[in-house]
């Protein structure tokens, strides 16, 4: 196991772990706001939860990008060829 492989594996783990922090905070805020909105206006719960799901998936995408980067580092790393 050479130096590039060690760094790649380490940075893949770093990418996922730190990349998950931001979306997690963002999703928490989004869900809290949606809860608040539903509590205030239960009749519009349908629209809110639909928008919430789309928004959550959008936020989640940031973490997914990090995952893709990590997988690229692990499985398609140009330095290890």
């Amino acid at each position: 196991m050479n130096w590039a492989a060690v760094v790649s594996i380490f940075s893949a783990a770093m990418a996922v772990s730190f990349g998950a922090i931001g979306p997690a905070l963002g999703e928490g805020r989004a869900v809290a706001a949606a809860m608040d909105a539903i509590a205030r206006q239960p009749e519009s719960a349908n629209t809110i939860s639909r928008t919430l799901f789309v928004g959550l998936a959008m936020i989640e995408t940031m973490a997914i990008y990090c995952l893709v980067i990590a997988l690229l580092l692990l499985f398609a790393n140009p330095l290890l060829k």
């Binding site: 998936a57 959008m58 995408t61 997914i64 893709v68 997988l71 499985f75």
Partner: protein, 230 residues
């Protein structure tokens, strides 16, 4: 461990390698086309239960298009509906043992996002002509032209990475958990994967609608319903 980015080649037709994702896609296409043919074979005014179910699906898609695009759905129903139904069925094809969803491979997602990219241009030009379509790049003001141009490419990129990442990560996680914990343990993850698959299909269709609606801009086809709504 097998790389999630690699796709095993099943066989070759001439020089073209046929991967498992392509084979599954063909199966899904046959299933959807056959299903659509079978469902529309005997249409009648007093709908049978099966026909009602399909009418409900079409009606839901129409409602979503109307809500999101603020336009009459007839023009976009075929494209948006096909996108949604195909991605939905592709994501849920993981329910069949041994089948890996084709959307878990980058090629399928790139192809789908490229279709959206083309559809934005085609629908945009069809709605208001080339001039109007190009003018949408200069909105809200001409300084935004380079940004809008770059955005039209990057949003397609983010679209396929999103779909690919979500579906592939689901498949990958199930593989890892299966390797670590074994039989029956990944079932809750698979249920979560089905939810993600459905939501991602919905989001892909919604985003396609939003992009197309952006390209159409303010040009709205004259229809009595639309004017009444506004």
């Amino acid at each position: 461990m097998i790389s999630p980015l690699a796709d095993p080649v099943l066989f070759h037709i001439g020089p073209a390698p046929i991967t498992s994702a392509v084979a599954v896609t063909w199966g899904l296409m046959a299933f959807l086309a056959g299903g659509a043919f079978w469902a529309t074979r005997k249409l009648s005014i007093d709908a049978s239960p099966t026909q009602s179910v399909f009418e409900l699906i079409v009606d839901t898609v129409d409602g979503q298009i109307r809500d999101t695009m603020q336009a009459e759905p007839a023009r976009y129903r075929a494209f948006i509906g096909t996108l949604f139904v195909f991605i939905f069925v592709a994501n849920w094809s993981t329910l069949i043992p041994g089948v890996e969803p084709p959307t878990a491979h980058l090629e399928t997602d790139i192809a789908l996002a490229f279709l959206v990219f083309l559809a934005v241009i085609v629908f945009g030009i069809r709605a208001g002509g080339v001039r109007h379509y190009l003018a949408t790049f200069a909105s809200p003001n001409p300084i935004m032209i380079p940004l809008n141009f770059v955005e039209s490419l990057t949003r397609v990129f983010s679209m396929f990475v999103r779909l690919f990442g979500n579906v592939m990560s689901g498949v990958f996680m199930i593989g890892i958990v299966l390797m670590l914990a074994g039989f029956l343990v990944p079932i809750p993850l698979m249920a979560l994967d089905l939810l993600t698959g459905a939501v991602q299909a919905y989001i892909f269709a919604i985003l396609a609608m939003v992009f197309i609606a952006g390209a159409i801009g303010d040009v709205k086809p004259a229809s009595p319903k639309q004017e009444k709504g506004d």
